[in-house]
Symmetry: C2
Subunit: 423 residues, 2 copies
């Protein structure tokens, strides 16, 4: 058995997890690990300190290394470091969703030029096998839809809000105390993390390069305890859904936003920090993949999986895994959120006057939006009420115009929230 | 692009589905299809009848064919036909769970000798990607447990029994009328089909050859409407579970039997003909894969996936996919059902006498079985009652002995059912 020589860039919890898993495989030789602080105490048994370097170029320029594992995260300085690695003919295994979403095209083109491959199972949904299956065993399918819970932090917060009737702020604070959310939670709660992941997953599923900058993105910070309660009363759970769809005209609809998900839907049953991906295609139908989407151990399963596959392939060929090569030649034509069709949940603060429901119905009708349910949430002390409207399928552009007109109408004070619905 | 030359053995609904999917790929050339009846009318557009042969040896002995797809099913005559194919250096893609469970060792050994590979994603759970992921991207894991719903027919019957309070016989009849169950349903309802699949999946997950003949197997024919009702009342659904476990002493516990599955468990939520596989390992944690486990289209996704992976690999190496090679050198030491530990649901028909519960408690206690719940289901017209006992974890051998002793006790008429419980 030939041994595969590996360098690791990044040695936080994920890097340490990857090291621990890989060192038990006799055909994997860890040659060097790049860290920020060489003197930091490491909690690893029998650890050989001479493996450490604080210069990642010791790895990417090392002629004795076959593969670079990158678990450092972020775009800078990792992008330049990995470009050098590729130019030096090293294969790459990366868990870096932000880098791949923002600089994937450049990296894949450079990898092709240099006859190396980039594997990144760990970049999407942690331990859940999705990248490799889509590129290999599912490759006969025309994939038409992905709907997924790809961010554990937000799913944890939404679960706690629903289970314990908490406000967003309280649930966030609890998640931070328990380590489910970072001190600066923006990347998770505003949907950036999920957007990186759905950009990567949509690109390989639809075989068209999805532009991260054209993904409509909305986080969970505006979800109120009242929204969760209203959703429940109507038979829904609220989830942050990352979605990608291949439309019948070949255009691509990719977005991240909270949705009311019908209770019977499998994604509604995915709680806490768990991730879940529903993928629909022909001929396979609907598949659902569920598991831990983050954490050192699940992530190291995917990183080590990529490494073992590569090691095995390199024993018999110098062109490993041709199916995994990213072809980003075709650029996805992404549609604007205004052009999408959705069912909506709209929470409207209105004065408790007779005729308010009539006004809402009239304005929506004028803009071609059919209402399927209308429900009033009690009456506030200031004689206003929150009215919940659930619509049938309508164009986002029309709905937004209806809401603008509605806000000019008598007795309509404020749109408390607008969420989309998945049945 | 090199083209891969394919022969198909078996041209029923699955074979036809595979043909339709594969013919759209320019690098796949279908050379020959072996059928039973060459004159049967085929509902395929622009079909070239000269592709058909009624002699499968026209395929396996054809020097112009690289890969044989086998979707005929059964052991005879397919086993001999595929042996010839392998001896003639043809790769095999098979959907035949019975053949692989019964003759896998012989076929994989012969394939190794002849430097060809056997792929069989479609043999387990239809369209759900599980074989390839376990062998590739999950290969860094030590897999310790599989619990799965692998038979759509029985899951459909159990779902209908639960939803509509039907007896087994009525639900089976409906399933047969709708095409979910065959006229002779034995292979499904007695658990043979699930046993073949869990034999294959356990073998690759634990890297030890599991003997199909040593798998404990129980079907669903003895489940009554009353069992389903009692399970519901206690917070459970009844599912036919195929299970494989790597025990701490290295022994393997593989079995197929109905179980009470706690309502909150993901497998309890899998309804109708859907399949679902829960796999636990280190470092990945728990994964769940859900999708269509049968049908021409999902199955053809997996067969075509294997073919496309193989085609892609053969462009760069003559030793494709080394990771997928089955190594069955190590034989699993499978434990007997009597040596397993389970929680139990036991339905006991007893005379409605004071002291009956006392007798049950005393006998179970004597055999080291702790009871966690005891519930009586009304009183029958003959002054008997069904008493439901849920036990804590106990050894099957002890439970069986307790039941033998119980049957000799005053007022205990009959053990209506014994099922195991998954929380």
């Amino acid at each position: 058995m030939k041994s595969l020589k590996v360098g690791i860039i990044g040695f936080g919890t994920v890097g340490t997890g990857v090291y621990k898993v890989l060192k038990s495989f006799p055909n994997i030789e860890i040659k060097k690990i790049a860290v920020k602080d060489i003197n930091k105490k490491r909690d690893i048994e029998n650890f050989d300190l001479s493996l450490l370097t604080d210069n990642p170029y010791d790895i990417v320029s090392n002629p004795d290394i076959d593969v670079v594992i990158e678990v450092a995260g972020g775009v800078n300085p990792v992008y330049d470091i990995l470009k050098t690695a590729i130019q030096n003919k090293k294969h790459i295994v990366s868990a870096n969703k932000e880098l791949l979403a923002k600089k994937g095209s450049e990296l894949f083109a450079l990898a092709k030029e240099n006859n190396v491959i980039i594997l990144y199972e760990a970049a999407v949904a942690g331990g859940i096998p999705i990248i490799m299956p889509v590129k290999t065993i599912l490759s006969a399918n025309k994939i038409t839809k992905i709907a997924a819970i790809l961010n554990g932090t937000t799913n944890y917060i939404l679960t706690k809000m629903a289970e314990q009737n908490l406000s967003y702020d309280v649930a966030l604070k609890q998640a931070q105390e328990l380590g489910y959310a970072e001190t600066n939670p923006t990347g998770d709660v505003e949907g950036y993390d999920a957007a990186y992941k759905i950009a990567i997953l949509s690109t390989i599923s639809f075989n068209k390069k999805v532009d991260i900058n054209k993904i409509y993105r909305e986080g969970i910070t505006k979800i109120t305890a009242q929204d969760i309660k209203s959703a429940k009363a109507l038979g829904y759970r609220i989830k942050l859904i990352a979605m990608g769809q291949l439309l019948s005209d070949g255009k691509i609809d990719v977005r991240v936003h909270p949705m009311l998900v019908a209770k019977k839907h499998l994604l509604a049953k995915v709680d806490n920090a768990t991730n879940s991906i529903m993928l629909s295609g022909y001929p396979v139908g609907d598949l659902v993949f569920t598991g831990a989407g983050a954490g050192a151990e699940p992530t190291s399963s995917s990183v080590a999986g990529d490494i073992l596959v590569l090691a095995s392939e390199l024993e018999t060929t110098s062109n490993p895994l041709p199916q995994t090569i990213c072809r980003h030649n075709e650029i996805a034509e992404q549609i604007d959120i205004g052009d999408t069709y959705n069912e909506y949940y709209i929470a409207i603060n209105a004065s408790n006057n007779p005729g308010t429901i009539g006004i809402i119905g009239t304005v929506f009708g004028k803009h071609n939006i059919n209402i399927s349910t209308i429900m009033q949430n009690g009456i506030n002390s200031d004689n206003t009420a929150e009215i919940i409207v659930i619509t049938e399928l309508g164009k986002e552009f029309d709905v937004q115009n209806a809401l603008k007109e509605l806000l000019k109408s008598d007795g309509i004070n404020k749109i408390d929230n607008l969420l989309r619905v998945m049945n």
